[in-house]
């Protein structure tokens, strides 16, 4: 599904140049659950942003379902971010002034999914994450664990091929973190969605099926 070949990425210029990814390659197949570990600043998040079409790379090849991502237009990349990839961030990244329902609906809105279909899907997702009674509650009023569950539901809303999770348990207490990781496992097993998980936590990383260290 995803093939990264010999990816190079650096920041800065001249003497201040810092190589973050050097000759990095990775293949992700449907249904994979991969953890990426590494010290701070080693390029874990950069890798995630490159995979999520949020960041460009200096050289190498990135193919998504056989298509060269570097040749995609801004519109195609936006569509890919919305439909093919789901993001889950450490700081949840929900719009605080919108309700849970509305936050989950955003990617579906940009993917032009019809309203009726959206409604059915959101109700199912809220039920899956055990948040049905919070549908009309503003995201800002939820606990960290609840916000992260809504963020996961949002990531799943367009049935993406892969979920990219950047330290998803980093801001959560142990119990909430466990809930979130269990939810990822369930999504991976039940829906066959590939998951790429970036984490510092060895316990969290050990829950993945495949492991990479940067």
């Amino acid at each position: 599904m995803i093939s990264l070949k010999n990816i190079y990425k650096s920041y800065g210029k001249g003497e201040a140049v810092r190589n973050v990814l050097t000759d990095f390659s990775l293949d992700i197949a449907p249904g994979d659950f991969i953890s990426i570990r590494g010290r701070s600043g080693c390029g874990k998040s950069t890798l995630l942003y490159i995979l999520g079409c949020l960041e460009s790379y200096d050289s190498g090849e990135y193919l998504y379902k056989g298509e060269d991502v570097s040749k995609m237009s801004e519109k195609q990349l936006a569509r890919m971010r919305g439909k093919e990839i789901g993001f889950v961030f450490q700081s949840f990244f929900l719009i605080p002034s919108l309700t849970c329902y509305e936050n989950i609906e955003i990617p579906m809105m940009y993917a032009d999914i019809p309203p009726k279909q959206r409604k059915d899907k959101i109700i199912t997702l809220l039920s899956e994450i055990g948040m049905s009674e919070y549908a009309n509650q503003k995201a800002a009023t939820l606990s960290g664990g609840q916000q992260q569950r809504v963020a996961i539901a949002r990531a799943l809303s367009c049935d993406p091929g892969i979920i990219l999770a950047d330290e998803p348990t980093g801001n959560l207490d142990e119990a909430s973190g466990e809930d979130v990781i269990s939810l990822f496992e369930r999504i991976n097993n039940d829906f066959g969605t590939a998951i790429l998980l970036v984490t510092h936590d060895p316990a969290v990383a050990s829950r993945a099926k495949l492991h990479r260290t940067l």
Binding site: F87, S97, Y110
Partner: protein, 282 residues
């Protein structure tokens, strides 16, 4: 949620800023409309007076209460002056303009006066002296208009500064939300156009409200400026309201273009990825 609902949501979220934007646009447009409605009238009168004074022709203007009176008087005057050198123009359904050569004005004037009197209709005459009086009263109105113009200049300048401020604050507040939408599948172009649509709607509403307010205030301002009754009854070659609207439209387009430019520059400069990296802590 639809894109329209999201747009309403952000207008509601930024209601404090947008209220200021709405009021500023409204005040500018109300002032514009008032000035255009009073100033254009007075300036046209003065230009007419000046032309009359320096020309070798002499304009006499008759105004009648209705169409049939005007037609009747027109026929009577046409019959009375024949081909004696006066140019008779029926300018509108209630207004006649007679242009006379100065040397023959006295005898011709008498004939015209008799013809109009014999038609038995009510009318008003504006002669050279009347026009001079208008010029005198108009100078007061002009001073008033100068004050209005100064007010407009101050308002427009402060509005322009305020507008840029409102946009930047609104955009800054929005950048976090915009970056979330970007991650969720929105393109940068789509986000820019959605943001512009908000400003467009708010300023359009302000401009419409200002135009209505200006239209309501204009008659009062004209009377207050001393450019009321005398000036108001003299028909103009074009409707001042239409002029005001055209002028307003240009100003509105200018505001929208300036707004679009500021938004585009700022949004193009926003690094969505930084927002993703650092969230709301930039």
């Amino acid at each position: 949620m639809t894109k329209a609902k999201l747009l309403r949501h952000y207008i509601k979220m930024n209601r404090g800023l947008y209220r200021a934007l709405f009021v500023q646009t409204m005040v500018v447009f109300a002032l514009l409309f008032v000035i255009a409605n009073t100033n254009l009238t007075v300036e046209m009168q003065l230009s007419q007076a000046k032309n009359t004074e320096n020309a070798d022709v002499y304009d006499i203007m008759y105004e009648f209460s209705d169409e049939s009176s005007c037609t009747l008087a027109y026929d009577s005057i046409t019959a009375a002056i024949g081909d004696e050198g006066a140019e008779l123009i029926m300018k509108s359904t209630v207004f006649i303009n007679i242009r006379l050569s100065i040397p023959e004005q006295t005898s011709l004037m008498e004939k015209i006066q008799t013809a109009v009197d014999s038609s038995g209709v009510g009318y008003s005459i504006y002669t050279k002296n009347t026009v001079k009086q208008i010029e005198k009263s108009g100078s007061g109105a002009l001073n008033f208009n100068s004050i209005l113009k100064l007010l407009l200049l101050i308002t427009m300048t402060s509005t322009a500064i305020g507008l840029v401020g409102v946009l930047l604050i609104s955009l800054y507040r929005r950048e976090y939300d915009l970056s979330i939408q970007y991650v969720c599948g929105a393109s940068k172009g789509g986000l820019i156009s959605a943001t512009l649509a908000e400003y467009f709607l708010v300023t359009l509403a302000g401009a419409a409200a200002g135009t209505v307010l200006g239209a309501i205030l204009s008659p009062f301002v004209r009377v207050f400026a001393g450019a009321g009754a005398d000036v108001g009854v003299i028909p103009l070659s074009f409707a001042p309201k239409a002029g005001a609207l055209v002028y307003g439209l240009f100003v509105y387009l200018f505001i929208i273009l300036a707004t679009a430019a500021v938004t585009l520059i700022r949004l193009r400069a926003v690094d969505m990825l930084d927002r993703v990296r650092y969230g709301d802590n930039i």
